[in-house]
Symmetry: C2
Subunit: 298 residues, 2 copies
């Protein structure tokens, strides 16, 4: 057994697989919290952990706390709604994995430092399978001391761990990664929608794209799903809207006008408006294929 | 020597390298025409060909005529302004490589058929080096009989030759390829511009993009050039504007609203308006980096 005890707040599919991986390599998972009680209890049972009803109990019972929540509001709630995670802060290490606004990471990191806690942000660019196998691509940001402390445990989860900079910097870069991914996905969906309208063989179209300047990671990951209308969620359109929104807010703060970012954000927002927000981001093709387009917003 | 004689209309860098390649594998290049007389004469001298002042002389002196002109207007001029290429049409094979509107290809193909000529469209997705080495990726469209006739000679130019469909279909697909490439390029330039404003290390940013969902062919081809402001022309922004314009026109005809296509077209148009149309498409980063943005349209 490794000596450090670990707690988890937020155990969607990524968080759950990270917890499983850490248990496998010898850490003791002491407690698990999720707003979905059934999910938390089931995973806690599987991993021999407690499933407390308060996040404060997670930080009481563990030396290292991973958070994998969905958005700014959830992040603020677990840290700043009393009794919050910082009820037990001194000497503890908080590793925050959500893709959220840099400003919220900075706020949490600052408060943690005041209370004697180490706080790092560690967003990832990977799939659930990578999480389960300890093969995540992860970025890390925070003070160098805090990042050094987090390094050994994060190495057990990753194939690539890259130090980005001070608080907020990994969150900025993660927002940029998803901004580009979302633009490329939205653009691909437009081209395939037009190809469909023109009566071209869509499989051939994607094969030609792959050989040419149109090639991209999302062509591989989302292209076939757009053709097959296979939109079971790996990365929800609602999350794409949120992440592109973070990038858009950063652009506004910097006084930058970025029209493709704006257009792509509007498309993911449109998916949400049409009740398609829980589809995978590949579901944006439901907007761009003439034959698929939903009748009206819900 | 191979038996067929070949003429070229339009010998920019792609056309010139295609002609050189065909000469190398044993074809006789009989005549070369370009609106830039000096360029035509220099290449003609190199290849032992004539450099006539009329395109009609090209089709008189060759059995196979390659056209590699820039746009719809140039294509219409060489075929429909008398004396045009079809002054000598019967029995000849015309291979049209420009990325232009499908409708113009259809118009030329139809007129050629009436006159007893074989006409194919053969747009390519490759670089000048590929052209020189006979390693082009090429699409081909037209009647199956005409495409069959063009196949042996095109095999001498390509590593991949793909039959797309009847007249106009390869041009449609080529417009889609460039549409996606142009969107991905414009999106990448926005993300790097924002990363620059945020003070992130841009080389690190592109490395992280490459490992994640933000990866793309244009990240490889244009990312480093955006960082280095190295915009010597491989594919001019003005061409990007033209090609995205072809896709946009097709979308309008199909009644499709494609916001990222529109936003990207507007950005390349903006480059032209700012006097940046002759930069490589990577020069779109001149619009999205705060410190680079030109003062006003010319």
């Amino acid at each position: 057994m490794k000596s450090e005890t670990i707690g988890f707040v937020g155990v969607g599919r990524m968080g759950a697989n990270m917890a499983r991986r850490l248990r496998d390599v010898g850490y003791s998972i002491t407690s698990i919290y999720d707003t979905n009680r059934a999910v938390a209890e089931s995973l806690a049972k599987e991993l021999g952990a407690a499933a407390p009803t308060s996040v404060a109990e997670v930080s009481r019972s563990a030396q290292v706390i991973f958070t994998v929540v969905t958005d700014d509001a959830a992040m603020r709630a677990i840290y700043f709604r009393e009794p919050g995670l910082f009820s037990h802060a001194a000497g503890r290490l908080f590793i925050n994995c959500p893709t959220i606004s840099p400003a919220v990471h900075i706020e949490v990191t600052k408060r943690g430092a005041e209370l004697g806690a180490a706080v790092v942000e560690a967003p990832m660019a990977s799939s659930m399978t990578h999480a389960r196998e300890g093969k995540l691509y992860m970025m890390i940001a925070g003070s160098q001391t805090d990042c050094k402390r987090a390094e050994p445990i994060l190495k057990d989860l990753t194939v690539s761990l890259r130090y980005i900079g001070g608080p907020g910097k990994a969150a900025e870069l993660k927002a940029l990664v998803n901004m580009v991914m979302n633009i490329n996905t939205a653009g691909l969906a437009e081209a395939l929608g037009l190809a469909d309208a023109l009566g071209l063989d869509l499989k051939m179209v994607t094969e030609v794209f792959a050989q040419a300047g149109a090639n991209s990671r999302v062509l591989e990951t989302d292209g076939p799903d757009m053709l097959d209308r296979e939109h079971s969620t790996f990365f929800a359109a609602a999350h794409a809207a949120k992440d592109s929104g973070i990038a858009l807010e950063l652009a506004r703060e910097e006084g930058l006008h970025l029209p493709l970012l704006e257009a792509s954000k509007a498309q993911y927002d449109e998916m949400v408006r049409f009740g398609l927000g829980e589809l995978d981001k590949s579901g944006i093709s439901e907007l761009t294929f003439k034959s698929r387009r939903p009748a009206k917003p819900i």
